[in-house]
Symmetry: C2
Amino acid sequence: MVNTRNMVADNYTPESVAEAVRKYDGVRRKQAIGSLVRSLHIDNIDVVASYGEDAAVIQNGRTALLLAADGIWNKLMEVDPYWAGYCAILVNVHDIAAMGGRPVAMVDVLSASDDAIMTEVSRGMHDAAVAFDVPVVGGHLHPDAPYNVIDVSILGVAELENIIYSSKAQPNDAIIAAIDLKGRIHPSAPMNWDSVTMKTSDVLRSQISVMKDLGERHLLTAGKDISNPGVIGTLGMLIESSGVGAVVDLTAIPRPDLDALGITFEQWVRMYPGMGFIMTANRSDVETVCKKFRKTGMAAQVIGTVTSTKKFTLVKGEQETVLFNFCEEGITNI
Amino acid sequence: MVNTRNMVADNYTPESVAEAVRKYDGVRRKQAIGSLVRSLHIDNIDVVASYGEDAAVIQNGRTALLLAADGIWNKLMEVDPYWAGYCAILVNVHDIAAMGGRPVAMVDVLSASDDAIMTEVSRGMHDAAVAFDVPVVGGHLHPDAPYNVIDVSILGVAELENIIYSSKAQPNDAIIAAIDLKGRIHPSAPMNWDSVTMKTSDVLRSQISVMKDLGERHLLTAGKDISNPGVIGTLGMLIESSGVGAVVDLTAIPRPDLDALGITFEQWVRMYPGMGFIMTANRSDVETVCKKFRKTGMAAQVIGTVTSTKKFTLVKGEQETVLFNFCEEGITNI
């Protein structure tokens, strides 16, 4: 039997995790969003929600149209165009799922410097589009670009009253993380937990549709898919846009066997988990929520509590540290 | 009075125009689309139309959801990020308008290498979004990219029965070009006719809404906004996707005073006209269609006829030449 006290991956402190998250590119690069949003904003009566949410919500009668776009980090495109194409679809499908919506269709803008890269990117996109059964229905191609860029945009639909927002977490809500721990560190990208390419379409679709189910049953107060900033960074964005605070118990965050994988806890919490959601819910709904994710093979558990402090605190046993103080500085500053 | 027979811009032949269009990057770079489309396609029952149209058409009850995406050529981004940002919005709004739809909202993915470029691009996007009253509601920002890229995607709505497709031109239809000739050669981009930045929002919105009106009255058989391939290249794409042919009278194509502008006719027909549509209609509807555009200050007239030949022929007086023979080679090969 392994003595967990001596395991390397357990040698983290709240401060070492806070440092790692604060300095992480995936989190830091969100800081430019605020000024961009302010420069672009124009009022529109049909727009129910926009920046700060995974997808914008546009009222169209009693239906909500969801619109999102995501680009893929250039570093990923350079090391693995197939996985970049796959991820371009994956993150967009998640943006709609996280809002409780049904993904309907996607469009892409692909800039490619050569045919080999174009082929690999579109192969990755095709495989992910088939796996999640969301068609790519159009877009634009720059076949002679001086760079390789894939940007995808997605349309989804939902009933307006069933939408799950990032911005509605309330003090005393439980914070729930749901992550598929059955996966691998992606061979091309050490900060990507690939929990998707080895799964059947049935498994992926059942996992992605949990959020829609939770939205229809009004079992969450807020939710977001876990993206590049990792589980803690993404939760930070949810907490910031809700105008609240959080206390997170680091020992409760779902994780695979990190020592077997040879990675630290600090790395794990920054990784993009492929299939993962961070949510808040009333205490009384926690078990129902977690069970729904577990039924699809995902780990799901309460990792903390929403507070009214505007501070985001990390705790491990007796130790604690303030990761973000939103009174002083935000992550996105939207 | 000027003797038009001696004017430089009139010294074109069908063959010189055909050569210029065939060799134009804006046309040639469409050839890679076909193989990309084949690699991405998956069947979906709700997708009424996709590739080959300016926007994909997705059935949602009796409503059609329109989804399109467009990127901006890197060369434009390099010379004028403000105009690139403006155009990113402009071309997307046109994609929805061309289908007879109402533009609802846009999302963008902006990659920028420095803050100055980011500011200029977003200033251009903001000004265009205000001018056309279509909000940018979200997206993604790469603040530390090794390149400058703006990709925008747009959502629109229409009644399914009122959609204007690119692919439904019929033999014997009249071909109509509508272009706003009141403009300037854009100082940063000699292949861009800027007919928009000097116009009031009211004028722009009235021009863009003509297509929606024509769709609702079922006055067109097909239509497309004139984009980078220019008036002839764009018509070529419409004719190709309709599986028909065309005879175009070059002398009928609306043009500003080319000699005063110091440009050739070959350049004019390749230019992106800012505000322009190419359409096909029953002969009996031609006058109604042209009048609607003229009321908004645009030039509109019949420039040719749809044929059943699968050949695209250019005519000037007694001279004629085959520009494209779609039996042998297509423009997009979708």
